[in-house]
Subunit: 164 residues, 2 copies
C-alpha cells in the first residue's frame, strides 16, 4: 500500500536536525552498549531489566509490567529473562494468586552485577549525554521527547492514522 498524496517534505533545517538526531542516537547507543558488553557482559536490554527490577519492591516484578518498564515487547522480555536466568542474575517464580503470571526476581548475583555495571553505565550517560549538552538545551530536549511521547499516545487514540 502506498501513500496517496505528496507529504510536506522536510526543509533543509528540519532535515539536518532530524539526521543529527538519527546519527547521534546511533553512535551513542553503540557506545553505551559496547561499554556494557565489554566490561560487564550485559546488553543494554539486559541492563535495563536489572535496573527496573532493582527499583521495584522486593526486587521483583510481574513479567508484563517489567516488559513495559524496560521498553521491550513481552516476547522479547521472555528471551531476555531467559538469558539473565541462565546466568543466574534473575530467577522466575510463578505467581500464587494468578497462576498464569510469573514474577521475575533479581538475585543477589544479579544485584552485584548491576551495581558494577551501573557505575560504568552512568559514567557513560553523563559523559556522552547529560554533561555534553548545555543545561538549557538539555531541558528543552526533555520537553521535546515528552511532546513526542504525548503526541504518539494521542495519535494512537485517534481513528485514522498517518500512514495509509
Amino acid at each position: 500500500m502506498s501513500c496517496v498524496e505528496e507529504p510536506r517534505w522536510l526543509d533543509e533545517d528540519e532535515q539536518r536536525i532530524w539526521r543529527s538526531y538519527l546519527l547521534g542516537h546511533a553512535r551513542l547507543n553503540e557506545l553505551l552498549d559496547r561499554d556494557l558488553r565489554e566490561h560487564h557482559d550485559l546488553s543494554l536490554a539486559e541492563y535495563e531489566v536489572l535496573v527496573r527490577l532493582s527499583e521495584a519492591g522486593d526486587r521483583s516484578m510481574r513479567m508484563a509490567e517489567l516488559a513495559e518498564f524496560s521498553n521491550q515487547s513481552r516476547s522479547r522480555l521472555s528471551h531476555t529473562v531467559d538469558r539473565l536466568a541462565r546466568d543466574g542474575l534473575v530467577a522466575r517464580n510463578t505467581c500464587d494468586d494468578d497462576r498464569r503470571g510469573v514474577w521475575a526476581i533479581l538475585t543477589d548475583a544479579g544485584f552485584r552485577r548491576l551495581a558494577e555495571a551501573a557505575c560504568t553505565h552512568v559514567r557513560g550517560v553523563r559523559a556522552y549525554f547529560v554533561d555534553a549538552v548545555r543545561g538549557e538545551d538539555y531541558r528543552a530536549l526533555g520537553r521535546a521527547f515528552d511532546a513526542i511521547l504525548g503526541n504518539m499516545a494521542a495519535a494512537e487514540e485517534r481513528p485514522e492514522s498517518v500512514s495509509r
Copy 2:
C-alpha cells in the same frame, strides 16, 4: 572489568529526561520501522540505504562511503545490500579504477520503491517528530545532538576513555 570509583549519579531531573529520551526513541523507532515494513516491505536500514543512494550522483556510491552515510557497519551494509539486490532494488558493479571496490547502484525499481516509501516515511517523521515539538525546542534538540556528536568524536581522540 569494573568501575573503580563511584560516579556522580544522575539527579532526579537528569534521570527523568534521560528516560524520556530512551522511551521516546524506542517508541518512535518502532512506529517508523513498522510503517515502512507494513506498507513498503522495507526496514529502516534498507530505507536509509536507498535514500543515500538516491542523493548521490549517478544514484551510486562506493560501499564504504555508503556505509558511513547510512550509519551502518561495512559488514552490516553488505548484508543489507544483499537483501536489496535480491529484491532488485540495488545493483552491484565492481569498480574499474580500484578493483577491490564495489559500486552500489540504485535501480529504477529501487527508485520507484523509495519514492513510494518516502511519502509514508516523511509523513511519519513530520507527524511524530518534527511537528510534535515546538520550533524553539526543536532547534535546541538539534544543538543538543550536535553537541553529543561533537563530544563523542572528541572523546575518541583522547587517550583514556570514560570506562575502565
